[in-house]
Protein backbone atom coordinates (compact mmCIF):
# COMPACT_ATOMS: atom_id res chain seq x y z
CA UNK A 1 0.00 0.00 0.00
CA UNK A 2 1.25 3.43 -0.84
CA UNK A 3 0.97 5.75 2.13
CA UNK A 4 0.27 9.34 1.11
CA UNK A 5 3.50 11.32 1.01
CA UNK A 6 2.06 14.38 2.74
CA UNK A 7 -0.68 15.30 5.14
CA UNK A 8 -3.68 17.02 3.53
CA UNK A 9 -2.54 20.47 2.35
CA UNK A 10 1.09 19.65 3.19
CA UNK A 11 1.31 21.05 6.74
CA UNK A 12 1.10 18.74 9.75
CA UNK A 13 -1.89 19.11 12.06
CA UNK A 14 0.06 20.64 14.95
CA UNK A 15 1.31 23.42 12.66
CA UNK A 16 -2.18 24.01 11.30
CA UNK A 17 -3.60 24.35 14.82
CA UNK A 18 -0.92 26.92 15.66
CA UNK A 19 -1.62 28.91 12.48
CA UNK A 20 -5.38 28.64 12.96
CA UNK A 21 -5.13 30.07 16.47
CA UNK A 22 -3.03 32.94 15.10
CA UNK A 23 -5.63 33.60 12.39
CA UNK A 24 -8.44 33.82 14.96
CA UNK A 25 -6.48 36.36 17.03
CA UNK A 26 -5.61 38.31 13.90
CA UNK A 27 -9.28 38.57 12.97
CA UNK A 28 -10.20 39.62 16.52
CA UNK A 29 -7.61 42.44 16.49
CA UNK A 30 -7.91 43.93 12.98
CA UNK A 31 -4.58 45.09 11.56
CA UNK A 32 -2.46 43.78 14.46
CA UNK A 33 0.42 41.54 13.45
CA UNK A 34 0.22 38.23 15.31
CA UNK A 35 3.57 36.41 15.63
CA UNK A 36 3.45 32.77 14.55
CA UNK A 37 5.93 29.92 14.28
CA UNK A 38 6.38 30.05 10.53
CA UNK A 39 7.62 26.78 9.03
CA UNK A 40 10.03 26.14 6.24
CA UNK A 41 8.10 25.51 3.09
CA UNK A 42 9.24 23.74 -0.06
CA UNK A 43 9.84 27.08 -1.78
CA UNK A 44 12.18 29.99 -1.10
CA UNK A 45 11.33 32.93 1.10
CA UNK A 46 9.87 35.67 -1.05
CA UNK A 47 7.81 33.22 -3.08
CA UNK A 48 4.82 33.33 -0.82
CA UNK A 49 5.71 31.05 2.10
CA UNK A 50 3.49 33.09 4.43
CA UNK A 51 0.50 33.09 2.11
CA UNK A 52 0.95 29.40 1.41
CA UNK A 53 0.91 28.54 5.12
CA UNK A 54 -2.26 30.56 5.70
CA UNK A 55 -3.92 28.96 2.68
CA UNK A 56 -2.83 25.48 3.83
CA UNK A 57 -4.35 26.09 7.27
CA UNK A 58 -7.76 27.16 5.98
CA UNK A 59 -8.13 25.08 2.81
CA UNK A 60 -10.65 22.23 2.69
CA UNK A 61 -11.60 19.72 0.00
CA UNK A 62 -14.71 21.72 -0.94
CA UNK A 63 -12.72 24.88 -1.67
CA UNK A 64 -11.97 26.25 -5.11
CA UNK A 65 -8.58 27.90 -5.20
CA UNK A 66 -7.36 30.76 -7.35
CA UNK A 67 -3.79 32.04 -7.18
CA UNK A 68 -2.62 35.28 -8.72
CA UNK A 69 0.78 36.88 -8.99
CA UNK A 70 0.66 40.61 -9.78
CA UNK A 71 -2.92 40.02 -10.94
CA UNK A 72 -1.98 37.26 -13.33
CA UNK A 73 -3.06 33.62 -13.11
CA UNK A 74 -0.41 32.40 -15.51
CA UNK A 75 2.93 33.45 -14.08
CA UNK A 76 5.41 30.98 -12.57
CA UNK A 77 4.63 31.75 -8.94
CA UNK A 78 0.87 31.52 -9.41
CA UNK A 79 1.04 28.29 -11.39
CA UNK A 80 3.41 26.55 -8.97
CA UNK A 81 1.37 27.44 -5.90
CA UNK A 82 -1.84 26.35 -7.64
CA UNK A 83 -0.23 23.04 -8.59
CA UNK A 84 1.18 22.65 -5.08
CA UNK A 85 -2.32 22.68 -3.58
CA UNK A 86 -3.86 20.66 -6.40
CA UNK A 87 -1.26 18.01 -5.56
CA UNK A 88 -1.18 18.14 -1.75
CA UNK A 89 -4.85 18.90 -1.08
CA UNK A 90 -6.56 17.75 -4.26
CA UNK A 91 -8.62 20.95 -4.37
CA UNK A 92 -10.28 22.28 -7.48
CA UNK A 93 -8.51 25.28 -8.96
CA UNK A 94 -9.80 28.06 -11.12
CA UNK A 95 -8.69 31.30 -12.73
CA UNK A 96 -12.13 32.86 -12.31
CA UNK A 97 -12.35 35.40 -9.50
CA UNK A 98 -16.09 34.84 -9.24
CA UNK A 99 -15.91 31.05 -8.79
CA UNK A 100 -13.02 30.95 -6.30
CA UNK A 101 -13.67 30.49 -2.58
CA UNK A 102 -10.04 31.06 -1.56
CA UNK A 103 -7.84 33.46 -3.53
CA UNK A 104 -4.17 33.64 -2.73
CA UNK A 105 -2.59 36.78 -4.11
CA UNK A 106 0.78 38.37 -4.54
CA UNK A 107 0.60 42.16 -4.83
CA UNK A 108 -2.87 42.68 -6.32
CA UNK A 109 -6.54 42.65 -5.42
CA UNK A 110 -8.72 41.31 -8.25
CA UNK A 111 -10.69 43.89 -10.25
CA UNK A 112 -13.98 42.00 -9.88
CA UNK A 113 -15.75 42.76 -6.61
CA UNK A 114 -15.22 40.07 -4.00
CA UNK A 115 -18.19 38.47 -2.26
CA UNK A 116 -18.89 37.36 1.28
CA UNK A 117 -18.08 33.69 0.77
CA UNK A 118 -14.52 34.38 -0.29
CA UNK A 119 -11.24 34.60 1.58
CA UNK A 120 -8.41 36.66 0.12
CA UNK A 121 -4.95 35.52 1.29
CA UNK A 122 -2.09 37.98 0.72
CA UNK A 123 1.58 37.06 0.47
CA UNK A 124 3.49 39.64 2.47
CA UNK A 125 7.24 40.30 2.33
CA UNK A 126 7.61 42.97 5.07
CA UNK A 127 4.54 43.13 7.33
CA UNK A 128 5.76 46.01 9.47
CA UNK A 129 4.79 49.36 7.89
CA UNK A 130 7.17 51.20 10.22
CA UNK A 131 10.18 48.95 9.57
CA UNK A 132 11.98 51.26 7.15
CA UNK A 133 11.45 54.16 9.52
CA UNK A 134 12.44 52.30 12.69
CA UNK A 135 14.48 49.11 12.34
CA UNK A 136 14.10 47.91 15.94
CA UNK A 137 11.22 45.49 16.51
CA UNK A 138 11.01 46.48 20.20
CA UNK A 139 10.42 50.09 19.15
CA UNK A 140 7.88 49.44 16.39
CA UNK A 141 5.98 47.20 18.77
CA UNK A 142 5.90 49.99 21.32
CA UNK A 143 4.76 52.46 18.64
CA UNK A 144 1.86 50.18 17.71
CA UNK A 145 1.01 49.74 21.40
CA UNK A 146 0.76 53.50 21.85
CA UNK A 147 -0.77 54.10 18.40
CA UNK A 148 2.17 56.45 17.88
CA UNK A 149 2.09 56.85 14.11
CA UNK A 150 3.45 60.38 13.74
CA UNK A 151 6.56 59.03 12.06
CA UNK A 152 4.51 57.61 9.22
CA UNK A 153 2.88 60.96 8.61
CA UNK A 154 6.32 62.60 8.63
CA UNK A 155 7.40 60.15 5.95
CA UNK A 156 4.39 61.01 3.78
CA UNK A 157 5.01 64.71 4.45
CA UNK A 158 8.63 64.33 3.31
CA UNK A 159 7.29 62.90 0.06
CA UNK A 160 5.25 66.07 -0.38
CA UNK A 161 8.16 68.34 0.55
CA UNK A 162 10.43 66.61 -1.95
CA UNK A 163 8.11 65.76 -4.84
CA UNK A 164 5.07 67.95 -4.31
CA UNK A 165 2.80 64.96 -3.81
CA UNK A 166 2.74 61.71 -1.85
CA UNK A 167 5.07 59.63 -4.00
CA UNK A 168 4.42 56.32 -2.24
CA UNK A 169 2.86 54.24 -5.01
CA UNK A 170 2.64 50.76 -3.49
CA UNK A 171 2.52 49.29 0.03
CA UNK A 172 0.69 52.50 0.84
CA UNK A 173 0.01 52.53 4.61
CA UNK A 174 -3.56 52.16 5.81
CA UNK A 175 -5.26 52.50 9.17
CA UNK A 176 -7.56 49.61 10.04
CA UNK A 177 -10.67 50.15 12.15
CA UNK A 178 -9.28 53.50 13.33
CA UNK A 179 -6.52 51.83 15.34
CA UNK A 180 -3.63 49.93 13.76
CA UNK A 181 -1.55 51.24 10.89
CA UNK A 182 -1.01 48.31 8.55
CA UNK A 183 1.04 47.49 5.48
CA UNK A 184 -1.38 46.27 2.80
CA UNK A 185 1.55 44.29 1.27
CA UNK A 186 3.09 45.70 -1.92
CA UNK A 187 -0.23 46.14 -3.71
CA UNK A 188 -0.41 49.27 -5.85
CA UNK A 189 -2.21 52.06 -4.01
CA UNK A 190 -4.83 51.78 -6.76
CA UNK A 191 -6.08 48.74 -4.83
CA UNK A 192 -6.28 50.37 -1.40
CA UNK A 193 -9.93 51.51 -1.70
CA UNK A 194 -10.96 47.90 -2.41
CA UNK A 195 -9.85 46.86 1.09
CA UNK A 196 -12.28 49.24 2.75
CA UNK A 197 -15.61 47.71 3.76
CA UNK A 198 -14.83 44.61 1.68
CA UNK A 199 -17.40 41.79 2.04
CA UNK A 200 -14.65 39.13 1.92
CA UNK A 201 -12.29 38.20 4.76
CA UNK A 202 -8.71 39.33 4.09
CA UNK A 203 -5.81 37.39 5.62
CA UNK A 204 -2.14 38.33 5.37
CA UNK A 205 0.76 35.91 5.84
CA UNK A 206 4.45 36.82 6.07
CA UNK A 207 6.58 33.66 6.18
CA UNK A 208 10.09 34.97 6.66
CA UNK A 209 8.95 37.66 9.10
CA UNK A 210 6.62 35.21 10.88
CA UNK A 211 3.54 37.38 11.13
CA UNK A 212 -0.15 36.89 10.35
CA UNK A 213 -2.67 39.73 10.27
CA UNK A 214 -6.19 40.22 9.03
CA UNK A 215 -8.97 42.56 8.03
CA UNK A 216 -12.43 41.18 8.90
CA UNK A 217 -15.22 41.75 6.36
CA UNK A 218 -16.93 45.15 6.41
CA UNK A 219 -14.10 46.85 8.27
CA UNK A 220 -13.03 50.42 7.78
CA UNK A 221 -9.66 50.71 6.02
CA UNK A 222 -8.41 54.26 5.48
CA UNK A 223 -5.34 55.20 3.45
CA UNK A 224 -3.26 57.72 5.40
CA UNK A 225 -3.24 61.21 3.91
CA UNK A 226 -3.54 64.91 4.67
CA UNK A 227 -6.50 67.25 4.34
CA UNK A 228 -4.70 69.30 1.68
CA UNK A 229 -3.09 66.26 0.06
CA UNK A 230 -5.85 63.66 0.02
CA UNK A 231 -5.16 60.06 -0.95
CA UNK A 232 -5.43 59.48 -4.69
CA UNK A 233 -5.27 56.08 -6.35
CA UNK A 234 -2.86 56.06 -9.29
CA UNK A 235 -3.42 54.54 -12.69
CA UNK A 236 -1.65 54.96 -16.03
CA UNK A 237 -3.72 57.32 -18.17
CA UNK A 238 -4.53 54.88 -20.95
CA UNK A 239 -7.07 52.20 -21.82
CA UNK A 240 -5.99 48.56 -21.75
CA UNK A 241 -4.42 47.71 -25.14
CA UNK A 242 -6.14 44.33 -25.21
CA UNK A 243 -9.61 44.85 -23.75
CA UNK A 244 -9.97 48.64 -23.75
CA UNK A 245 -10.85 48.83 -20.04
CA UNK A 246 -10.52 52.35 -18.67
CA UNK A 247 -10.93 51.52 -15.00
CA UNK A 248 -8.53 48.63 -14.39
CA UNK A 249 -4.99 48.68 -13.04
CA UNK A 250 -2.48 48.53 -15.92
CA UNK A 251 0.91 46.95 -16.40
CA UNK A 252 3.37 48.75 -18.65
CA UNK A 253 4.99 46.38 -21.12
CA UNK A 254 8.01 47.47 -23.15
CA UNK A 255 7.64 46.05 -26.64
CA UNK A 256 10.92 46.95 -28.35
CA UNK A 257 14.17 48.81 -27.77
CA UNK A 258 12.90 52.03 -29.37
CA UNK A 259 10.67 53.14 -26.54
CA UNK A 260 7.43 51.54 -27.66
CA UNK A 261 5.22 50.24 -24.92
CA UNK A 262 1.76 48.93 -24.33
CA UNK A 263 -0.51 49.07 -21.33
CA UNK A 264 -2.51 45.98 -20.43
CA UNK A 265 -4.70 44.98 -17.49
CA UNK A 266 -2.65 43.39 -14.74
CA UNK A 267 -5.66 41.25 -13.79
CA UNK A 268 -5.56 38.53 -16.47
CA UNK A 269 -8.95 37.04 -15.55
CA UNK A 270 -10.64 40.44 -15.76
CA UNK A 271 -8.98 41.22 -19.13
CA UNK A 272 -9.77 37.83 -20.68
CA UNK A 273 -13.33 38.06 -19.42
CA UNK A 274 -13.80 41.40 -21.11
CA UNK A 275 -12.25 40.17 -24.35
CA UNK A 276 -14.58 37.17 -24.31
CA UNK A 277 -17.47 39.61 -23.97
CA UNK A 278 -16.29 41.28 -27.17
CA UNK A 279 -14.37 44.28 -25.84
CA UNK A 280 -11.30 45.16 -27.86
CA UNK A 281 -8.34 47.40 -27.28
CA UNK A 282 -6.02 49.16 -29.74
CA UNK A 283 -3.58 46.25 -29.86
CA UNK A 284 -6.13 43.50 -29.47
CA UNK A 285 -4.97 40.15 -30.76
CA UNK A 286 -8.23 39.62 -32.59
CA UNK A 287 -7.05 40.54 -36.14
CA UNK A 288 -4.25 38.02 -35.84
CA UNK A 289 -6.69 35.35 -34.70
CA UNK A 290 -9.07 36.17 -37.56
CA UNK A 291 -6.28 35.72 -40.03
CA UNK A 292 -5.24 32.42 -38.52
CA UNK A 293 -8.77 31.15 -38.87
CA UNK A 294 -8.98 32.22 -42.50
CA UNK A 295 -6.17 31.21 -44.81
CA UNK A 296 -3.10 29.35 -43.77
CA UNK A 297 -0.90 32.30 -44.58
CA UNK A 298 1.27 32.59 -41.49
CA UNK A 299 2.36 36.04 -40.52
CA UNK A 300 6.11 35.75 -40.54
CA UNK A 301 8.00 38.20 -38.45
CA UNK A 302 11.42 36.86 -39.37
Amino acid sequence: MNAPAYNFAYLDEQTKRMIRRAILKAIAIPGYQVPFASREMPMPYGWGTGGVQVTAAILGPQDVLKVIDQGSDDTTNAISIRKFFAKTAGVATTTSTEEASVIQTRHRIPEAALHANQVLVYQVPIPEPLRFLEPRETETRRMHALAEYGLMHVKLYEDIARFGHIATAYAYPVKVNARYVMDPSPTPKFDNPKMDNCPALQLFGAGREKRIYAIPPYTQVVSLDFEDHPFEPYRFNAPCALCGAENSYLDEIVTDDKGSRMFVCSDSDFCEGRQAEGHHGALSAAPYKDKAQGEAQGKDNG
Binding site: Q14, K16, R17, L24, A28, G60, H144, A145, P216, T219
Partner: protein
Protein backbone atom coordinates in the same frame (compact mmCIF):
# COMPACT_ATOMS: atom_id res chain seq x y z
CA UNK B 1 -11.76 2.90 37.10
CA UNK B 2 -12.19 4.60 33.78
CA UNK B 3 -9.92 3.25 31.14
CA UNK B 4 -9.00 5.12 27.99
CA UNK B 5 -11.14 2.75 25.97
CA UNK B 6 -14.26 3.99 27.75
CA UNK B 7 -13.68 7.61 26.77
CA UNK B 8 -15.92 9.05 24.06
CA UNK B 9 -14.08 9.14 20.73
CA UNK B 10 -12.51 12.15 19.03
CA UNK B 11 -13.03 13.02 15.36
CA UNK B 12 -13.40 10.06 13.00
CA UNK B 13 -11.34 11.97 10.43
CA UNK B 14 -8.97 14.21 12.37
CA UNK B 15 -7.70 16.23 9.45
CA UNK B 16 -10.84 17.14 7.54
CA UNK B 17 -13.06 17.43 10.62
CA UNK B 18 -10.65 19.88 12.20
CA UNK B 19 -10.51 21.86 8.95
CA UNK B 20 -14.29 22.05 8.67
CA UNK B 21 -14.69 23.01 12.33
CA UNK B 22 -12.01 25.67 12.02
CA UNK B 23 -13.72 27.22 9.01
CA UNK B 24 -16.95 27.49 11.01
CA UNK B 25 -15.12 29.12 13.91
CA UNK B 26 -13.18 31.40 11.55
CA UNK B 27 -16.41 32.51 9.87
CA UNK B 28 -17.94 33.08 13.29
CA UNK B 29 -14.99 35.23 14.40
CA UNK B 30 -14.92 37.10 11.08
CA UNK B 31 -18.66 37.81 11.28
CA UNK B 32 -19.47 38.34 14.96
CA UNK B 33 -23.07 37.63 15.84
CA UNK B 34 -23.63 35.31 12.88
CA UNK B 35 -24.59 31.76 13.79
CA UNK B 36 -22.29 29.14 12.26
CA UNK B 37 -22.84 25.39 12.37
CA UNK B 38 -20.27 22.80 13.25
CA UNK B 39 -20.78 19.76 11.05
CA UNK B 40 -18.25 17.08 12.08
CA UNK B 41 -19.30 14.69 14.83
CA UNK B 42 -17.14 13.83 17.79
CA UNK B 43 -17.88 12.14 21.07
CA UNK B 44 -18.46 14.62 23.86
CA UNK B 45 -17.97 13.71 27.49
CA UNK B 46 -20.47 14.61 30.21
CA UNK B 47 -21.80 18.15 30.04
CA UNK B 48 -19.65 19.12 27.10
CA UNK B 49 -21.65 20.10 24.02
CA UNK B 50 -20.92 18.73 20.56
CA UNK B 51 -19.69 22.09 19.32
CA UNK B 52 -17.42 22.62 22.31
CA UNK B 53 -15.88 19.18 21.84
CA UNK B 54 -15.22 19.85 18.16
CA UNK B 55 -13.62 23.22 18.92
CA UNK B 56 -11.45 21.63 21.61
CA UNK B 57 -10.25 18.93 19.20
CA UNK B 58 -9.57 21.58 16.54
CA UNK B 59 -7.73 24.26 18.51
CA UNK B 60 -6.31 22.81 21.74
CA UNK B 61 -2.93 21.13 22.13
CA UNK B 62 0.09 21.05 24.43
CA UNK B 63 0.79 24.73 23.61
CA UNK B 64 -2.54 25.97 24.98
CA UNK B 65 -2.98 26.11 28.76
CA UNK B 66 -6.61 25.45 29.46
CA UNK B 67 -8.77 26.75 32.28
CA UNK B 68 -11.98 24.91 33.22
CA UNK B 69 -14.88 26.11 35.32
CA UNK B 70 -15.53 24.42 38.65
CA UNK B 71 -18.16 22.02 37.32
CA UNK B 72 -15.87 20.84 34.52
CA UNK B 73 -12.87 20.47 36.80
CA UNK B 74 -14.93 18.18 39.04
CA UNK B 75 -15.77 15.89 36.18
CA UNK B 76 -12.80 13.57 35.86
CA UNK B 77 -14.21 12.08 32.63
CA UNK B 78 -14.10 15.49 31.03
CA UNK B 79 -10.56 16.26 32.17
CA UNK B 80 -9.40 12.82 31.04
CA UNK B 81 -11.06 13.24 27.67
CA UNK B 82 -9.45 16.64 27.14
CA UNK B 83 -6.04 15.42 28.23
CA UNK B 84 -6.20 12.28 26.12
CA UNK B 85 -7.49 13.85 22.92
CA UNK B 86 -5.85 17.27 23.01
CA UNK B 87 -2.92 17.07 25.44
CA UNK B 88 -3.71 20.56 26.65
CA UNK B 89 -2.42 21.25 30.18
CA UNK B 90 -5.34 22.01 32.51
CA UNK B 91 -4.34 24.87 34.81
CA UNK B 92 -5.80 26.61 37.87
CA UNK B 93 -4.43 30.08 37.10
CA UNK B 94 -6.85 31.66 34.65
CA UNK B 95 -4.54 34.64 34.00
CA UNK B 96 -2.24 32.53 31.81
CA UNK B 97 -4.87 30.46 30.01
CA UNK B 98 -5.04 30.40 26.21
CA UNK B 99 -8.56 29.04 26.37
CA UNK B 100 -11.21 28.87 29.06
CA UNK B 101 -14.11 26.43 28.93
CA UNK B 102 -17.23 27.49 30.76
CA UNK B 103 -19.95 24.85 30.87
CA UNK B 104 -22.37 27.05 32.75
CA UNK B 105 -22.41 30.83 32.44
CA UNK B 106 -23.29 31.15 36.13
CA UNK B 107 -19.77 29.92 36.87
CA UNK B 108 -18.10 32.58 34.71
CA UNK B 109 -15.54 34.38 36.87
CA UNK B 110 -14.94 38.13 36.49
CA UNK B 111 -13.49 38.55 33.01
CA UNK B 112 -10.55 40.53 34.39
CA UNK B 113 -9.24 37.26 35.79
CA UNK B 114 -8.44 35.96 32.32
CA UNK B 115 -5.38 36.83 30.30
CA UNK B 116 -6.04 40.15 28.57
CA UNK B 117 -2.81 40.35 26.60
CA UNK B 118 -0.43 43.27 26.82
CA UNK B 119 -0.41 46.48 24.81
CA UNK B 120 2.56 45.13 22.86
CA UNK B 121 1.13 41.62 22.50
CA UNK B 122 -2.67 41.88 22.72
CA UNK B 123 -2.91 38.42 21.12
CA UNK B 124 -1.69 36.80 24.35
CA UNK B 125 -5.18 36.73 25.74
CA UNK B 126 -7.70 34.10 26.76
CA UNK B 127 -10.38 32.99 24.34
CA UNK B 128 -13.39 32.21 26.52
CA UNK B 129 -15.71 29.48 25.27
CA UNK B 130 -19.08 29.61 26.98
CA UNK B 131 -21.83 27.03 26.59
CA UNK B 132 -25.24 28.70 26.42
CA UNK B 133 -28.82 27.52 26.24
CA UNK B 134 -29.76 28.73 22.77
CA UNK B 135 -28.36 30.78 19.92
CA UNK B 136 -31.56 31.06 17.91
CA UNK B 137 -34.19 31.97 20.48
CA UNK B 138 -34.37 34.39 23.36
CA UNK B 139 -33.68 38.07 23.85
CA UNK B 140 -32.30 39.87 20.81
CA UNK B 141 -29.08 41.81 20.78
CA UNK B 142 -27.96 44.30 18.16
CA UNK B 143 -24.27 44.13 17.45
CA UNK B 144 -21.91 46.43 15.61
CA UNK B 145 -18.23 46.34 14.76
CA UNK B 146 -15.72 44.95 12.27
CA UNK B 147 -17.09 41.94 10.43
CA UNK B 148 -20.65 43.25 10.62
CA UNK B 149 -22.35 45.00 7.70
CA UNK B 150 -24.20 47.68 9.62
CA UNK B 151 -26.00 45.91 12.43
CA UNK B 152 -26.21 42.19 13.20
CA UNK B 153 -29.07 40.84 15.26
CA UNK B 154 -28.38 37.93 17.55
CA UNK B 155 -31.21 36.08 19.27
CA UNK B 156 -29.87 34.09 22.13
CA UNK B 157 -30.56 33.02 25.64
CA UNK B 158 -27.29 33.52 27.39
CA UNK B 159 -26.14 33.08 30.92
CA UNK B 160 -24.89 35.25 32.55
CA UNK B 161 -27.62 37.57 31.27
CA UNK B 162 -25.36 40.59 31.76
CA UNK B 163 -22.56 39.05 29.68
CA UNK B 164 -22.60 41.87 27.16
CA UNK B 165 -22.44 44.50 29.89
CA UNK B 166 -19.44 42.70 31.31
CA UNK B 167 -17.85 42.54 27.87
CA UNK B 168 -17.99 46.31 27.57
CA UNK B 169 -14.65 46.42 29.34
CA UNK B 170 -13.19 45.37 25.97
CA UNK B 171 -14.07 48.85 24.75
CA UNK B 172 -11.69 50.65 27.08
CA UNK B 173 -9.07 47.90 27.07
CA UNK B 174 -8.70 47.64 23.29
CA UNK B 175 -6.46 46.32 21.78
CA UNK B 176 -6.26 44.18 24.92
CA UNK B 177 -9.32 42.17 25.82
CA UNK B 178 -10.96 38.76 25.67
CA UNK B 179 -12.71 37.14 22.75
CA UNK B 180 -15.76 35.07 23.50
CA UNK B 181 -17.10 32.06 21.64
CA UNK B 182 -20.68 31.04 22.48
CA UNK B 183 -21.70 27.45 21.85
CA UNK B 184 -25.16 25.88 21.90
CA UNK B 185 -25.17 22.31 20.60
CA UNK B 186 -23.64 22.54 17.13
CA UNK B 187 -24.21 26.30 16.81
CA UNK B 188 -21.36 28.75 17.32
CA UNK B 189 -21.34 32.53 17.65
CA UNK B 190 -18.21 34.58 18.25
CA UNK B 191 -18.12 37.92 20.02
CA UNK B 192 -14.71 39.37 19.29
CA UNK B 193 -13.19 42.13 21.40
CA UNK B 194 -14.15 44.68 18.75
CA UNK B 195 -17.87 43.81 18.85
CA UNK B 196 -20.19 46.27 20.59
CA UNK B 197 -23.78 45.81 21.67
CA UNK B 198 -25.72 48.85 20.50
CA UNK B 199 -29.17 47.85 21.55
CA UNK B 200 -30.52 45.18 23.78
CA UNK B 201 -34.11 44.30 23.09
CA UNK B 202 -36.20 41.85 25.04
Amino acid sequence: MTTIAELPPGFADKVLSAQSTFRSVMSAMARPGSVQRIVPMAGAPGMMMRGTAAIALTLFDHDTPLWLDARMTESSDMVKWLKFHTGAPVIQDSTIASFALVSDGALLPPLERFALGTSEYPDRSTTVIIQVESLDAGPSYELRGPGIDGVATLQASIKPSELFERLRFNETLFPRGVDVVLVAGDAVVAISRTTRVVNKGS
